[in-house]
């Protein structure tokens, strides 16, 4: 009984580790059993090679972390279904390896090590015998520690990263968060925790056998993580219930219909797996009632309200495109586009649907590599620099659609932008261990965040639920996040979509305020009323070429522009 309890607690550690990737990182990982195997078989082999038990367990976890990082990098670019496929294949690959090489796995009997294990410390001169109760204590402590660590991490920078990875990877990339590396790191952590769990189980039972770490285990752990994962605190308890209840329930059911014990565990896992997608929504709805508790930092008192960027040349050209050719696949979207965005100016880019406005914006942000021409940032050639590089250099863009980070209050969302724009090395680890320098960083970041909220007139709503914000405020929040990266050039893609009249007026004020602070704003917009009210300069695109460029007055008087907007027929004449 004690042994079973310890076993379940060790599995719960693996579930908690898996929940990092599945629930927090949003990746359907189906190979947790494989990392358990790395821990279980690794610890036995390393011990046989002469390492003491504790060192062997650490080393096995380190190996698993490396393997996890590699698999994480392999899957980081994939969509959800492909991640599931990839990790599922990896689970079977490890299983196939174990079966094909008895020298590693000990064949179907597995590798045996003496129980109970003894921890010897010649230094302290003590020997601890790991009885089942000692295992319960160790596993229980590890569970509590990991729960506490996760709870602490969620409130810090890691919580921001996870929300971004899970809900809006493209948005995170646009704000300068290295999504691929973060995913791989999360995967490595998951794998290392699994290895610890695997090592614990092997030491507890005295055997590591391939059949104990089959892909079925991976599926069971996945189910447990899904059921328990979306809910923050009581989730793991549910997960443990899944692990602990399925086998005995399966045996009982099998006994009731006269089948051999253990035969129906898989059937129950399958049923639980089917139930998960149906259960997820109610569980998430419950979880939403339990909003993520972030620390509510007070707004710093000494707020100036003034907004200026550290721009060197206030009137100079910040970002310029020269003869830009851009294509997507075979299709040419832009040909020979020239564009200059100046510091302290709002430059509007307008044109009919399909004229290439968004493509131009993406190319300038570094998200698309141009086929020809140059992009200059303050006279430095940045053609072909990726999106990261551009964010670091101070060029940030927003998206046409509102991308949700539904669990994060505006203040935290804006912090994500601060963190992307000016990253702090090893912030997550340093926050976890309460490094003192992190407090300074946090204070600076907080000031930046408030500055961005004030400039976008969202300071009143800083701690509201994003769902409670109006459509227009959500769009302003996008601008706020981009401002928070410390951008000197803002590339805004249709920020006014879905805004009401007063909201548009607010947006116009915000844009003027940003320009007055020295930011160069490029505004792609359909709402010509807004454009003509706010822009210093207008460029009109038509079918991938610049049709006209200049002051609002000169472009509005341009006959070519009038033709594409109002048609060549005189409105007063009778229609043909």
């Amino acid at each position: 009984m004690t042994v079973e309890l310890a076993h379940h607690l060790y599995l719960l550690i693996a579930v908690l580790g898996l929940a990092l990737s599945v629930s927090y990182g949003g990746q359907p990982v189906l190979c947790q059993g494989a990392f358990l195997a790395v821990g279980g078989f690794g610890v036995v082999h390393l011990e046989r090679a002469g390492l003491p038990l504790a060192a062997a367990a650490f080393a096995a976890a380190a190996i698993a972390a490396c393997a996890g990082y590699l698999v994480g990098l392999l899957t980081a670019r994939l969509r959800g279904a492909a991640v599931a496929l990839s990790t599922w294949a990896f689970a079977w690959l490890v299983y196939a390896l174990l079966q094909a090489f008895p020298a590693v796995s000990g064949g179907s009997q597995g590798l045996v090590r003496p129980t109970p294990a003894r921890l010897n410390s010649p230094f302290f001169g003590v020997t601890v015998t790991l009885t089942p109760w000692a295992h319960v204590a160790v596993a229980g402590t590890l569970c509590l520690l990991s729960l506490a660590a996760v709870a602490r991490l969620t409130r810090g920078p890691a919580g921001l990263d996870w929300a971004a990875l899970r809900e809006a990877p493209a948005l995170a990339t646009s704000l300068g968060v290295p999504v691929l590396r973060r995913r791989a790191a999360l995967f490595a952590t998951t794998a290392a925790i699994a290895a610890v769990s695997g090592a614990g189980i092997t030491v507890l039972l005295g055997v590591a056998a391939p059949s104990d770490v089959s892909p079925l285990l991976s599926l069971q752990l996945f189910v447990a993580a899904l059921i328990g994962g979306t809910a923050r605190l009581w989730g793991p308890v549910l997960g443990l219930l899944v692990i602990a209840v399925i086998p005995p329930l399966g045996d009982a059911l099998a006994g009731a219909v006269g089948l051999p014990a253990g035969a129906s565990g898989g059937v129950l896992t399958a049923l639980a797996l089917v139930a998960v997608p149906f259960l997820r929504e109610p569980i998430e709805r419950l979880a939403a009632w339990w909003p993520e508790r972030a620390e509510r930092p007070r707004e710093p008192v000494e707020h100036s309200g003034e907004f200026t960027t550290s721009t060197v040349s206030r009137e100079g050209v910040m970002l310029a495109a020269q003869g830009l050719d851009v294509g997507i696949g075979e299709t040419d979207i832009l040909t020979g586009v020239d564009l200059e965005v100046r510091a302290g100016e709002v430059h509007a880019l307008i044109g009919p649907n399909g004229s290439g406005k968004t493509t131009a914006l993406r190319a300038l942000a570094g998200a698309l590599r141009p086929k020809g021409g140059r992009i200059l940032l303050e006279e430095t050639d940045v053609t072909g620099a990726g999106q990261f590089e551009m964010v670091r250099r101070g060029v940030t863009r927003t998206f046409q659609r509102t991308v949700g980070l539904e669990r994060l209050c505006p203040h935290r969302q804006v912090l994500l932008g601060v963190r992307g724009g000016t990253p702090v090395p090893f912030a997550v680890v340093r926050h976890l261990f309460g490094s003192a320098s992190m407090q300074d960083h946090a204070a600076t970041a907080d000031r930046e965040a408030w500055r961005a909220l004030h400039v976008t007139e969202l300071a009143q709503r800083a701690f509201d639920r994003p769902g409670a914000l109006g459509a227009g405020e959500q769009r302003l929040l996008q601008v706020a996040r981009a401002v928070a990266t410390g951008a000197r050039v803002l590339l805004l893609d249709e920020p006014a979509v879905g805004m009401t009249g007063p909201e548009r007026a607010a947006l116009a004020r915000v844009l003027r305020r940003l320009a007055a602070g020295g930011v160069a704003v490029l505004l792609v917009e359909h709402d010509l009323a807004l454009v003509y009210g706010v822009a210093d300069r207008i460029t009109v695109l038509d079918r991938g070429r610049v049709l006209a460029s200049g002051t609002p007055e000169s472009t509005a008087a341009d006959p070519a522009v009038r033709r594409i907007y109002l048609g060549d027929a005189d409105p007063s004449s009778t229609p043909a």
Partner: protein
């Protein structure tokens, strides 16, 4: 590796690859129409074979000689069982999670159909496992391809021999594979399926029965999987759990052939079969690597596959 051994490995690789190709064709077809990666697809192969055997023999498989009636019955039943299982998997585990016709999101509830497919496969394995308790079974050959010549083997130039059955498998498998591929290109139903795969919303707006066409695709895919099981299971002992790895290998084949291309899937299957056969025959690697290498190929093809905007498996982060 001598010339004769290489030729033998090549031929048995082609036979194996034909089966992979047939499974992969179904996988690609389903993927093309729905964007669904069918996680239960490999289990349809094993499920089809064992259901057929259980029904016809009325017992767990024995390598019995079958009379003509039972042979035909078994062959038909295996293919039909594959098709029926596939339709069942679609209706129960996939369709509830697909977006409605003309819905803006094209992929539906991804976690739903991934979990549904995995669960369906697991359920097939576990339910069959209740009856079939051994690790593996020898399955009778209803097509009796081995008895085409008295000795069951053919002499190869250079001294070796090859089982007639191997050639039979290649012949039947390729013929059916190419026939199905042609039918998909030339018949109105094939054209309609292509339209659905390219733009389901536009297809629905023309009155095409999108859901029914998807069901047809799943049935065809299941029948192809059943046929693949029928062709290769007598050559080897078959276990209930073998389906997953078969399915994963077929996915590797489909990906190698450019996911979504039915013709490419068949070619990818042949290539993968030959690779696996040479791995097994090689003195450096050997039979231990029979599953390891294809699974590693799957991981690599997935990770390094097609980049770019429209790639269905990769996320566009920019």
């Amino acid at each position: 590796m001598s010339g004769v051994v290489a030729l033998q490995a090549f031929l048995s690789g082609l036979a194996l690859g034909t089966a992979y190709g047939l499974i992969a064709m179904g996988f690609s077809l389903v993927y093309r129409l729905t964007g669904v990666i069918s996680f239960a697809h490999g289990d349809l192969v094993v499920g089809g074979v064992f259901i057929g055997v259980l029904v016809v023999l009325g017992s767990t498989p024995v390598a019995a000689a079958l009379d003509v009636v039972h042979s035909v019955g078994l062959a038909v039943l295996i293919v039909a069982a594959g098709a029926a299982l596939s339709a069942g998997v679609y209706l129960v585990a996939v369709r509830p999670f697909l977006p409605g016709v003309g819905h803006r999101s094209t992929r539906g509830d991804v976690l739903g159909w991934v979990a549904g497919g995995l669960a369906a496969g697991l359920l097939i394995r576990e339910v069959l496992g209740l009856v079939l308790t051994q690790d593996a079974y020898a399955v009778p050959d209803p097509l009796r391809l081995g008895s085409l010549t008295p000795s069951g083997v053919l002499q190869l130039p250079g001294g070796g021999t090859v089982a007639v059955r191997t050639l039979g498998v290649i012949g039947i498998g390729l013929a059916v594979g190419i026939l199905v591929e042609r039918l998909l290109v030339l018949t109105p139903v094939g054209t309609a399926m292509k339209a659905v795969s390219e733009d389901p919303t536009a297809a629905a707006l023309l009155g095409l029965p999108v859901r029914r066409l998807v069901l047809v695709a799943f049935v065809v895919a299941g029948a192809l999987a059943g046929l693949a099981g029928l062709l290769i299971s007598p050559d080897r002992s078959l276990g209930v759990d073998d389906g997953v790895v078969l399915g994963l290998k077929a996915m590797a084949a489909a990906l190698m052939g450019g996911l979504g291309s039915v013709r490419g899937a068949l070619a990818g299957g042949l290539a993968l079969g030959v690779i696996e056969s040479f791995v097994v025959a090689s003195s450096v690697l050997g039979p231990h690597y029979a599953d390891v290498v294809p699974l590693a190929i799957l991981l690599i093809v997935l990770a390094l596959g097609r980049r770019g905007l429209r790639s269905p498996l990769r996320e566009d982060l920019e």
